[in-house]
């Protein structure tokens, strides 16, 4: 079932305890933009891709790894797993803490570090010798490079 992006952003921020600025930093947008998106304002076109990518990385980094692979973007699985573990660990620790009656852990920064690591790996794959990736996904490289600035 399709879930509205605005609800998705709000749910992610609430679950991981991310501030507007922290979430904004992941997609290269100011906190005010994030606030507007949550209120239901459609993001500008330039942010759509970043939002989908970051939401995808938070919800299921493994899926993104395989999807990028299908698009011919080679990634180092061992390196990917290190940062994906931060994202997945943040997620799991929230559930386990709830199960054992612990206060919700502060995992926001771990999540941000994990996502930035994954984005850096994606961007790095374009710098590698990869004729297909460079040719097919030049716009993707530019967008992610902009994101990491």
């Amino acid at each position: 079932m399709e879930i509205a992006l605005s609800e998705e952003i709000a749910a992610i921020r609430a679950r991981y305890g991310l501030s507007l600025a922290q979430f904004g930093s992941l997609v290269g947008a100011p906190a005010t933009s994030v606030k507007r998106w949550e209120a239901g304002v459609d993001p500008r076109e330039q942010f759509f891709f970043q939002l989908y990518l970051v939401v995808g990385l938070i919800k299921n980094p493994d899926e993104v790894f395989y999807d990028l692979g299908r698009q011919g973007i080679p990634l180092d699985k061992a390196q990917w797993d290190v940062f994906a573990a931060l994202v997945k660990g943040a997620d799991r620790s929230i559930d386990v803490s709830a199960q054992i009656g612990l206060d919700s852990p502060e995992v926001g920064q771990a999540l941000v570090t994990g996502i930035r690591g994954l984005l850096t790996l994606i961007a790095g794959s374009f710098a590698a010798k990869n004729a297909l990736g460079e040719k097919v996904s030049a716009s993707l490289a530019t967008r992610i490079a902009t994101l990491l600035k």
Partner: protein, 272 residues
Amino acid sequence: MSEIKLREPDTDLISLLRKCNSEELDNLVGYLTQKGGVSSQLKSTKAYRRWHPDHSKYVDEIIAEIQKYGGNTIFNIVRGGVGVTYRDIVLKVASRLKVKTVKGDPIDRIEQQILMKVLEKSWEKMTDTEKKTLIEGIMPETGADDLPKEFPTALLQTGIIAGGGIVSYKLSLIVAGAVARASLERGITFIAGTSVARWSAAFAGAVGLGIAALWTLFDVLGPAYRVLIPCVLHIAMLRQLYALKASGVDPQKMTADAGQSARRGILFRKFS
């Protein structure tokens, strides 16, 4: 329930592949895993690790991976992480190969048009001898004098109409086999040792050279198409195979001149 999320319903793909045995699925798994390398999601599943090479045991994973190749799953993650239907994939491939399709066309017709397009592009790369070998292989009654300069779309279509499923199957087998040899460096595994295999091997080289040259085109279309196009061609061939089986013909025992007499009359009327 499959580990890779399956998109259901997908009537053009799921029922067909679930009928197939492991040998018939072997080339599909090859396209998905050998081209995907470490990025192959299929290879990462528990079902694959447990059952490979008994592919029929994890056929839903194979179907789901094909569906995902057809979609941009970065966007799909937010929508539930499933791929697209096989029909969407076939239409996408047809569009990229500049095959004209009519909305609502049955899937086997679109697949047939894709096969013809691949054959047509391959035709441009063939020598006259190779063209003659191909035409005679499909329609033995066509003499060398009939060899046209342009791709003989009408001749082949007439042959398909006259010969029915057998000619369609032969055509699909030639193309899928040539693509398999170019991509996986092996032919269609499930026909190995049969009379069909011996027949197709007789002129496989001719088409193979043309198809190998086409590989550059598949690369230009994008990495996903290096997997999608061979998969669609293989599935098209499997569909023809099962259509024949359903009509009581055992394609494994098919001989080179099967269906020849039925076609001869129609071809004679049309071209004499």
